[in-house]
């Protein structure tokens, strides 16, 4: 009996501790995945030299730990934060590119909170002077001879292909056409006073946008909670997407490389966008509910029925469940997808507005394997 009693206490304690541990884990990963400026002070640049002690090769960020000596010769351990493994591999990195004992010089931005962390914008082997990291996943050069738009039996352009996906968006931020606004790749404004130029905000929406910008986008639920990159956001992700046309079922599957490999469906079978508020309001979605039809060589998709649980763009532009989008997909050449979107959200904006950008065909490759949830473990 006492044994059973004792076992019960242990089990009870373990369960309680497990619950509390879960609580701390859930509350403590706020900075696990983030926009660059949310964690690092991009207005400052620091250069450090040291010796590699360990490499943690993983998503969403790889970390290299290295010892840096001060003027007195005392060593302290620093963390270099690098991009995700997909970008690093595209830049020629491998898990064993750097090894313990390698001497490095690192140039990057220091952590905002003063901890010993630096973003690895440039990593150079001290002995040879060779740069071992290109921090950016650069767009490959276009083919010298443009390839013709592939077409299906019905004459419409094929939006997908047997091997490949769409990536390298020409813009990773959403700004209304014609606006000259300087911001970084994450959508962080260079000058907060430019905020009203980004889109025709209602006053509350401008206030929310400014608030998110003032906090360096650190509240982004895509990073904090792995919320899907809904709306147009996945279309501006370097991780890309695939368009799979199912002509028998009359729909297009959109396989999304960012987030957690979500998908959306665009229906081409003539169904209406049903629901109470501008779409499928009975079951509001992260990617909305899209119905499309061909207009010449352009697939025009009307999308509505969004929930309000996510940021629909990089940079933190707000939206409401009244958001609807008219999306226009065209393929002017084999290697280029042109995307235009008309944003209509009378809940957040004073008038409809539009934006457009191009994406590049990534030939012969499948979507990169990236799961936001790796960030949460």
């Amino acid at each position: 009996m006492s044994g059973a009693h004792g076992l019960g206490r242990v089990a009870a304690r373990r369960l309680a501790l497990a619950c509390l541990a879960g609580l701390f884990v859930s509350a403590g990963t706020a900075f696990a995945h983030h926009e660059l400026a949310a964690k690092f002070d991009t207005s400052k640049t620091t250069t450090l030299a040291g010796i590699v002690t360990a490499v943690d090769w993983r998503n969403p960020h790889t970390h290299v730990f290295f010892n840096v000596k001060d003027k007195q010769g005392d060593a302290s351990n620093w963390a270099i934060e690098l991009d995700n493994t997909i970008v690093l591999e595209k830049s020629g990195w491998r898990a064993d590119t750097l090894r313990a004992g390698d001497a490095l010089t690192v140039r990057g931005h220091p952590a905002r909170d003063g901890t010993r962390q630096i973003s690895g914008d440039t990593v150079t082997q001290t002995a040879t002077g060779q740069k071992v990291l290109f921090a950016k996943d650069t767009t490959p050069a276009p083919p010298k001879t443009p390839r013709a738009t592939p077409r299906g039996p019905d004459g419409h352009p094929l939006l997908g292909g047997p091997d490949g996906y769409w990536g390298y968006p020409s813009s990773t931020v959403l700004v209304q056409n014609g606006a000259a606004v300087k911001m970084d790749a994450d959508g962080l404004l260079a000058n907060l006073a430019d905020a009203p130029k980004v889109a025709p905000f209602q006053p509350w929406a401008l206030g929310v946008y400014r608030h998110r910008q003032e906090r360096q986008l650190r509240d982004d639920p895509m990073f904090l909670n792995c919320k899907p990159p809904g709306g147009v956001r996945y279309l501006q992700s370097p991780l890309g997407f695939q368009l799979i046309e199912d002509r028998v079922r009359q729909r297009v599957f959109v396989l999304i490389g960012s987030g957690n490999h979500n998908y959306r469906i665009v229906y081409l079978d003539g169904r209406k966008n049903v629901g109470q508020v501008r779409g499928d309001d009975d079951n509001p979605l992260y990617y909305g509910r899209g119905v499309g039809k061909w207009e010449g060589d352009t697939l025009v998709v009307e999308t509505a029925g969004f929930n309000e649980d996510f940021w629909f763009t990089n940079g933190g532009l707000p939206h409401t469940n009244l958001l609807s989008m008219t999306e226009r997909f065209s393929r002017p050449s084999f290697d280029t997808l042109h995307y235009e979107v008309r944003i209509d959200d009378p809940g957040a904006y004073t008038q409809p507005w539009s934006a457009s950008w191009d994406l590049r065909w990534v030939d012969g490759q499948e979507l990169p394997v990236f799961f936001c949830q790796e960030n949460r473990s």
């Binding site: 009996m1 059973a4 009693h5 019960g8 206490r9 089990a11 009870a12 369960l15 309680a16 619950c19 509390l20 879960g22 609580l23 859930s26 509350a27 006053p203 509350w204 401008l206 206030g207 929310v208 608030h211 998110r212 906090r215 509240d219 639920p221 904090l224 909670n225 919320k227 309000e308 649980d309 996510f310 940021w311 707000p318 939206h319 409401t320 469940n321 009244l322 009378p346 809940g347 957040a348």
Partner: protein
Amino acid sequence: MQMLASSVLGRLVARASRVLAVALVATVAGAASTGALAQEGHPLKGSWLGTWESNAALGDNILLILDWDGKAITGMINPGTDNIPIAKASLDPKGWMVSLEADAKDKSGASVHYVIQGHIENLELPSRSIVGTWSSPGGKGAFEASRQ
């Protein structure tokens, strides 16, 4: 023997209940801390629970449901019991000032005008709060409600 078994079973049930309670508290707290009840649209939209202190007519506790249709903030105080519709509401992004007005009925059926004024704290959190004061011809006091 049967009494002993019953006693043991009772203790196990009691222990299981305590463990379950701990788990529930941790789960609810964890959900709140991770933004499980996300709302990234209009800051006032949602369900709010809190207190309007010293409200002798309606009690200290208040439940508020607010919505945004793109033009106006609408809502109701204590739906299901007092059913007091929000008659006028505003949100000023400068300081995130909130103003809510509603007309309730007292026991005699006479109209009682309530005004809630405050500001939003922790705007970035799904569990943001409205903190301020309430007033009516019959009283006034502190007001605080958190989005659920």
